[in-house]
Symmetry: C2
């Protein structure tokens, strides 16, 4: 279905032989300011429109959210579907690869919460 991904999307291009290549690859996808937040919201709330995501997150601009979604779509983590015209309505959802991020997102979140509790 979503065959829009290639090796070049990923850190694999510069660490192919290293034992931590998968890790680097995952951090390449999630290691930006809003990327993990978008995945988190889609995991928690299901498919959302562009404006819904923007409202939910709050402190992100149109431009950056748009870039973030384009990155995640290119990585094969998010699907973009035009649901309606006039007015244009778009829906963003997680692909199977995106859903598969749930354990990693949760593990990071758990660690961060404990860390913040000192």
């Amino acid at each position: 279905m979503s065959e829009t991904r290639s090796d070049a999307d990923c850190a694999a291009s510069w660490c192919t032989d290293d034992p931590w290549c998968g890790l680097t690859c995952a951090v390449d996808v999630l290691g930006h300011k809003w990327h993990p937040v978008v995945v988190h919201r889609l995991l928690a709330r299901g498919p959302l429109g562009f404006g819904d995501l923007a409202d939910d997150i709050g402190a992100v601009t149109n431009k950056v959210l748009s870039e973030t979604l384009a990155d995640l779509e290119a990585a094969g983590v998010v699907d973009r579907t035009v649901v309606d015209d006039r007015p244009v309505r778009v829906e963003y959802s997680l692909t199977d690869d995106g859903e598969a991020l749930a354990p990693a997102i949760e593990a990071l979140q758990d660690w961060g919460e404990r860390y913040l509790d000192d």
Copy 2:
């Protein structure tokens, strides 16, 4: 023991009320090119000297590895111990907070490996 950490080290400073704050905080710590790799190596191999880490990782420069280790130390994830003088010998190890990253590192690594297998 390692009380070198404060709230300002973390994303908490800009997302305190958000449900994804812990996640953002964790990504602030790990979301750089070499930070997760250093944690990965210390988890896999135990305490290492500066040169050991540099050799193991390979494609990182002195300057960047040094900065990375300083960041992780400031975040309270890594401990730095001077083991010897003449010649100077230093050992880097994980703190409890650092060891606690293991599940998150593994989850990211697992995801990345599956992702790379298409």
